[in-house]
């Protein structure tokens, strides 16, 4: 689709929401919005796409209370603003939107969280991503290092970049809009997504990418949408298997969950962002005992998070039930860099090759 047609579609859908309200009010009804409820109880596995999406549960918010009426008023202002932005072919960041609302009197946002959530609501209502509204996130994407050549459409023209030869040690930074990237050629066997910068640097220093044909992707914690989209595209467009290597604690399993199954907050985008075939490398709770890794005791928060995962439909598999159960029993967690206790080469010479052959990647 050309940019013009996508812009026209976005405008039509946005104005459609306003028209719905206009008709409600001329018909003597209160304006309202219906949305799927955004909780873990309301995400369901979609057989067709293999990802987790919002289920059937919907909540309707009508302007019968001051709070809901204000919410709809704010949404109306945002729609008005986006409509104009699309027409003028401008773009803005989520943060800028928050500041623009300063001039909207009662419709101004109290905090940026509020405007971010509202934009997610609009994505759900229009079934479009925020990029279609010319809205950019503030968050910077993570970086890629490996035998991969791509072309990026930048504001200053096209750039062809090889993610080993043309980049520094920091790697190639993933842009906000991954649709501007075209993959040209590669010499890789798989993609490995890594949670921490320390482990990403360790693999690079040890030449893991060259030795095994790995594309290293640094997640920088909970991955941004652009990072997840890039992983999804490498998996789908290039047919490369994706493995995820994180710390061994409940928060890291959630990182894996959002990559493989989709996140609860953005389940409406799961089809674009989730990589259903992604596999979890570790650190697995069983690794902690098998490799006798230095570990810390689980905190109360950790235990609560693990228990919450046991009721999360995304983790309802034998593998996760066993691993989480084991961890709750041991009451221990380890970071990925704990492998250093067995020497700096252990992770690239022993752990990863063994584990990846086990998983059928190597």
């Amino acid at each position: 689709m050309s940019r013009k047609t996508t812009d026209a579609l976005a405008e039509t859908r946005l104005v459609g929401i306003a028209r719905f309200w206009y008709d409600q009010m001329t018909g003597g009804d209160l304006p309202s919005i219906s949305m799927p409820t955004r909780t873990k109880q309301n995400i369901a596995y979609d057989d067709e796409s293999g990802v987790w999406k919002y289920g059937e549960r919907e909540s309707t918010r009508s302007a019968g209370s001051a709070k809901s009426a204000l919410h709809i008023l704010k949404m109306a202002y945002v729609i008005g603003f986006l409509k104009q932005q699309l027409r003028e072919n401008r773009s803005s960041t989520l943060r800028e939107l928050y500041y623009i609302s300063e001039g909207w009197k009662r419709a101004k946002f109290a905090a940026q969280d509020e405007s971010n959530l509202l934009i997610e609501d609009m994505e759900i209502l229009t079934e479009l991503s925020r990029e279609a509204f010319h809205l950019r996130p503030e968050e910077d994407g993570a970086s890629i290092y490996g035998p991969l050549k791509l072309r990026e459409q930048t504001r200053r023209g096209e750039r062809e970049i090889h993610c080993q030869e043309d980049v520094g040690e920091a790697g190639y930074p993933i842009p906000n809009n991954v649709e501007n990237i075209e993959f040209l050629e590669h010499d890789a066997k798989f993609v490995i997504a890594i949670e921490t910068g320390g482990m990403y640097a360790r693999l690079m220093e040890n030449g893991f990418d060259e030795e095994y044909g790995a594309v290293l992707v640094h997640l920088k914690g909970q991955p941004a949408r652009s990072t997840r989209r890039a992983l999804k595209r490498m998996n789908e467009d290039l047919g490369l298997p994706l493995v995820v290597f994180t710390d061994g604690d409940p928060w890291s399993y959630r990182i894996f969950g959002s990559i493989a199954y989709g996140s609860i907050k953005a389940a409406h985008m799961s089809e674009l962002l989730a990589t259903p075939g992604a596999q979890f490398v570790g650190v697995q709770p069983s690794d902690i005992s098998d490799y006798d890794l230095p570990s810390d005791a689980l905190t109360e928060g950790d235990i609560a998070a693990l228990k919450a995962e046991l009721t999360d439909p995304r983790f309802d598999t034998d593998y996760w039930k066993k691993q989480i159960g084991l961890q709750l029993q041991m009451k221990l967690k380890s970071e990925q860099q704990a492998f250093a206790s067995r020497g700096l080469d252990f992770v690239t010479k022993e752990y990863l090759p063994t584990r990846l052959s086990e998983m059928g990647i190597l």
Partner: protein, 600 residues
């Protein structure tokens, strides 16, 4: 044997004064901070009790003056009946001397230790004698004393005694100097305020370290003075029974009927039957064994509870409410006085009050006001049965949050009145955990909790309605304007929507470009006539239509329009001005009207 003889030389009796010199904590003088509060508390308690006995409206003056860095002079003066000069040295200069100890009725002070303990404390810390002035009436002169206590013998040591001129017709003034600190000044002020709350008939003036404060009286009725009653057979101990029997000249049956509350012929016969004693015997002739049997029988036989109405003096629901309202501005206040009940033969009455909202702090635990026989309890809140009972109530059932005590803008007042309030210690800081008392407190609080819940529900409902009205009459028009602009269509008229949903009379005020617009729509099914009044800084001289009435109030103007509206009809007015102010509609029931200020 030598050792025993040596020891014998050291063995001697201990005077009470010496005992208390070494055990100051028993009386509330354990720290210099507490000394001031305890002294004032004892003196004020005495003053209030004396005024009650004389049926005088108490006028009490309290002052604390710093003389040196850590030496304070405390003055408490009242307009009570005064003390006859012969008794003054004993009241202030002898521990355990009092008029109320032997009587069975509610009173603030009981043991007669309090004020003389302060005299002793002064003597121990500064060595300065206590000055007392007392006058019993207009026709008698005032007597001035300077007193100390002979600690070895617990007898008063009169340093000075003379007649003087005094401007009060009757009353007592005591001046004590001792070492202390005023670190607990806030607690002292709390004490005075709490005292004012439960003694709304008293006027208390204070001058605390140069800071004046006054707690005015709100009731001109002196509470009736509780009358002493005879002991109840369930509340008596062996020692007292023995003394009473020895002093009696009556036959056993008369002794029981006349000497005890609620014992009639029938109960007396039953008691004697159980004890196996003949009613014709002389009470004074009973042996210890027989007295013991009698005591057991007295406690075993069912006897009606002691009469509480004469010997107890509850504050009363109305006066508690008045007392709280004058010191604490609250949105909700209810008080409950329970019927009298009995613990171990002692009658007691529980009173409680629950306040909500107003200026009470919205965060943190509820403010607790504990009282025993109209005396505020300031220390050991955690150890007190009152606190336990309050924490034991499920406040969540009454729409309050709770962490032990209820939390939020709540105050809880509990008053336990009894002929014998069971305290956990002699310093009388906390009520002991007696199940009967805790149960009464719980029941009183539950009744109040239900009333609070009704109030909160009603308030929430009206808030919800206001919220809805605000959404519909004020935010929907904004949504309509913005949405119409987006879809590029003529503006939606939200009036029908408003009318359908509100079914009320809606009055609005809006200020746009220096023009103030007022509008009234009658969405009800009936014709209404009303007056619309707006208090704001605008004179509204160019108003169309002209107000029916304009009044200047300071810098503001009250403008009043009258109008009559049929169902579906509307009315409007406009004028040049800056807006602001408050709009009010009169003549229409609150339930069917909505006033919306679109400028807020």
């Amino acid at each position: 044997m030598v050792l025993a003889e040596d020891l014998a030389k050291q063995q001697r009796s201990i005077s009470v004064a010496e005992f208390f010199e070494k055990n100051k904590h028993l009386l509330g003088f354990d720290s210099p901070t507490r000394g001031i509060i305890t002294t004032i508390k004892e003196a004020v308690d005495n003053s209030l009790d004396a005024c009650e006995e004389a049926q005088v409206l108490p006028d009490i003056y309290v002052s604390v003056t710093r003389l040196e860095k850590d030496v304070f002079r405390i003055v408490v003066e009242d307009n009570g009946p005064g003390i006859v000069p012969e008794n003054v040295p004993f009241v202030f200069g002898k521990l355990l001397y009092g008029s109320r100890f032997h009587q069975i009725r509610q009173s603030r002070g009981q043991q007669g230790i309090g004020i003389s303990a302060a005299v002793l404390y002064a003597q121990l810390t500064t060595g300065v004698p206590t000055k007392v002035i007392s006058r019993t009436g207009a026709r008698t002169p005032a007597h001035s004393f300077e007193l100390m206590i002979k600690t070895e013998t617990n007898e008063p040591d009169i340093r000075v005694h003379r007649e003087i001129e005094w401007d009060r017709m009757h009353g007592t003034r005591v001046e004590i100097e001792f070492k202390a600190t005023l670190a607990a000044k806030k607690r002292l002020l709390d004490y005075l305020r709490y005292t004012a709350v439960v003694n709304p008939h008293a006027r208390i003036r204070g001058e605390i370290d140069g800071e004046p404060c006054t707690f005015e009286r709100v009731s001109d009725e002196v509470p009736p003075c509780p009358k002493a009653i005879a002991p109840h057979p369930h509340g008596i101990e062996f020692g007292l029974l023995k003394r009473m029997a020895e002093a009696s000249t009556a036959k056993l049956e008369e002794f029981l009927v006349e000497g005890f509350s609620r014992v009639g012929r029938k109960s007396a016969e039953e008691i004697l039957g159980v004890a196996g004693l003949k009613g014709s015997r002389k009470a004074s002739a009973l042996s210890s064994q027989e007295l013991k049997a009698l005591l057991e029988a007295m406690q075993a036989v069912q006897v009606p509870p002691p009469p509480a109405s004469q010997c107890l003096s509850p504050i009363g629901e109305e006066l508690i409410v008045q007392g709280i309202e004058k010191e604490y501005p609250v949105d909700f206040i209810k008080a409950r006085t329970r019927k009298s009940s009995v613990h171990s033969g002692h009658p007691f009455i529980v009173e409680a009050a629950l306040g909500y909202g107003g200026k009470l702090p919205a965060e943190g635990q509820a403010q607790m006001l504990r009282f025993a026989n109209r005396v505020p309890l300031l220390y050991q809140q955690g150890a007190c049965a009152i606190t336990n009972a309050v924490a034991g109530v499920n406040w969540k059932a009454y729409n309050l949050s709770q962490q032990g005590l209820p939390t939020g803008a709540v105050m809880v007042l509990v008053h336990v009145a009894s002929t014998n309030v069971p305290f956990t210690s002699e310093s009388k800081d906390a009520v002991a955990a007696i199940p009967e008392i805790e149960k009464e407190i719980t029941l009183a609080l539950q009744e109040l909790g239900r009333e609070l819940k009704t109030y909160l529900n009603r308030r929430d409902r009206s808030r919800q309605q206001e919220d809805r009205a605000r959404a519909i009459c004020s935010i929907i028009p904004d949504i309509a304007a913005k949405v119409s602009e987006i879809v590029e269509q003529p503006p939606v008229d939200t009036a029908p929507l408003e009318g359908r949903i509100m079914r009320r009379l809606v009055a609005k005020k809006r200020t746009l470009d220096g023009q103030v617009e007022l509008s009234v729509h009658n969405y009800t099914a009936k014709p209404v006539s009303l007056s619309l009044s707006l208090l704001s800084p605008d004179a509204a001289q160019d108003a169309i239509p002209k107000p029916d009435f304009v009044d200047r109030v300071g810098d503001d103007y009250t403008k009043v329009w009258k109008c009559a509206l049929d169902p579906e009809a509307s009315w409007g007015a406009r004028y040049t001005g800056g807006g602001g102010g408050t709009l009010d509609v009169r003549g229409v029931d609150d339930r069917v009207k909505v006033v919306v200020d679109l400028d807020v």
